[in-house]
Amino acid sequence: MAKQTESTGSRIISELPTLVGIVGLFVIASLYWVQPGWDVALTIRDATTLSLIFPTAIVVLLLLRRHIYNLSRREESWPYDITTIGSCLFMILLYLIGGMEDPTLAALYSNVSVVGTMAVISAIAVGIFSAMMRIYRAKTPTMAFLIALSILALLTYSPLGEMIYPGIPQLGDFVQTYISGAADSAFWISTYIGAVALITRMILLKERLRPA
């Protein structure tokens, strides 16, 4: 019994950060129904949000370390490592000279990062159409049904369906609104139930937030 008490005690001490975290969780959650928020909760929330700048800075430095490491080993990627390190340091230098409002910093960000993002997001279309053409085959009745639905969606959301028969986009809209909408709800609701289960496991110290 004494041994069990001792192990429970030491367990609680070792799990102290998790317990503190759970208290923090409910303190913050209270902001949802305490309007306006109370000071302690606001302070914890703001402090946690602000503290994120430190891990962010650390991981950016670790990213640079990776490329410097590649350079030091003279890997074949060295010209690209120099590009990464150089452009990163150049951006930091621009900030140190002109602040976040520096026009060159803003120009590079909007024309490289934002446009690069657009390129990647738009490339999704290529990935999908390519995969559809290559591997979308009616191997099972379910797959045949899904292919038919994908064709229905293409007909609905391009002018093609309306040109063939006005009922086609109406049917597509019906499937999207009433069936896809319900599936979307099922996805989210089950995930939120999973979230509450996760918190239950955390409270019972059965969900590890640090490596075993």
């Binding site: 997001i121 279309a125 093609l160 609104t177 709800s185």
Partner: protein
């Protein structure tokens, strides 16, 4: 010439090439096509044109459509920068319509890149290269620019904008801007809210204050926004360039959305043809095999 350099008709790169050819051709020579108008786009236009009643909290709130002086908040808090290529024409035509009707437009961006994208591609169309110098600035349009805080900022702004953020993005004090004289607490002083791929407006505004909310996103944003429309929080949605084309049709305002529709149609025809041929071939081969 080596063997590899011959064209291999099963090369996946031909799919990519075909797509680019279609896109270039439909960009150079767009044609007008018949367009179905989906219900959420009709609802979007009807809300702007005729208004709506919101009844989540008591008493209900009646909105009578956008007229001269209607206070409209544009909440640019989604992934607008990433999705701009599929939202540009829709946002432009709705903005044009709001201006035509004489709305007072209050704009906020929740991320720096969201502000950058509107600065670069939208605002110069209506307010010139420097919007702060436009005669409309301060009287019909106020831009808060990027202000951090996400939806928590909106919760705070619901009660008081000027206390938390006393100046606009250009450093003008809000109380000195004529348009802001009757705008401070968003929960009461905003007649219509239009989200750009915005999420969370339902729980902050609709349920508590009966604020009429519309949302705009990319074609596939409907995947995560439709729930809010079908549940009645959003009084309408405009999704993607197709939504832009629908709004152009509903409002009678000319725009540039048709090029996108032509492109969508041509690619759809090709993909549908490939899917049908590929699957028929697959089924026939399987039958032969058995």
């Amino acid at each position: 010439m080596s063997k590899e350099r011959k064209i291999n008709w099963k090369d996946t790169r031909l799919i990519y090439l075909m797509m680019f050819i279609v896109i270039f051709v439909s960009s150079i020579a767009p044609v007008t096509l018949p367009m179905p108008t989906v219900q959420w786009s009709k609802d979007f236009y009807r809300t702007i044109d005729k208004g709506c009643t919101v009844t989540f909290a008591s008493p209900p709130r009646v909105f009578e459509g956008v007229k001269e002086g209607t206070r409209v908040a544009i909440i640019n808090s989604g992934e607008t920068a990433k999705l701009w290529g599929d939202m540009s024409e829709a946002v432009a035509v709705v903005w044009k319509d709001l201006m035509r009707r004489g709305a007072n437009i209050f704009l906020w961006s929740s991320y720096p890149d969201n502000a950058v994208i509107l600065d670069k591609y939208l605002l110069p169309m209506f307010y010139g290269p420097d919007p702060s110098k436009s005669p409309l600035y301060g009287t019909k349009f106020v831009d808060m620019g990027y202000v951090s805080g996400g939806n928590y900022l909106l919760i705070a702004w619901a009660d008081d904008i000027k206390r938390i953020t006393p100046t606009d993005r250009y450093g003008n004090r809000l109380e000195n801007l004529p348009m802001m004289r009757n705008i401070n607490a968003m929960k009461t002083d905003i007649d219509l809210m239009i989200g750009l791929d915005a999420r969370g407006l339902e729980t902050i505004f609709v349920v508590r204050y009966n604020t009429p909310v519309l949302d705009m996103g990319s074609t596939d944003s409907a995947g995560y926004l439709a729930l809010s429309y079908t549940a009645g929080y959003f009084k309408g949605m405009i999704m993607g360039q197709r939504g832009g084309a629908e709004y152009e049709y509903l409002s009678g305002i000319p725009g540039r959305s048709m090029a996108y529709m032509q492109n969508a149609m041509t690619i759809s025809v090709i993909v549908i043809a490939v899917l049908i041929v590929g699957n028929v071939q697959y089924v026939l081969k399987r039958r032969e095999g058995t």
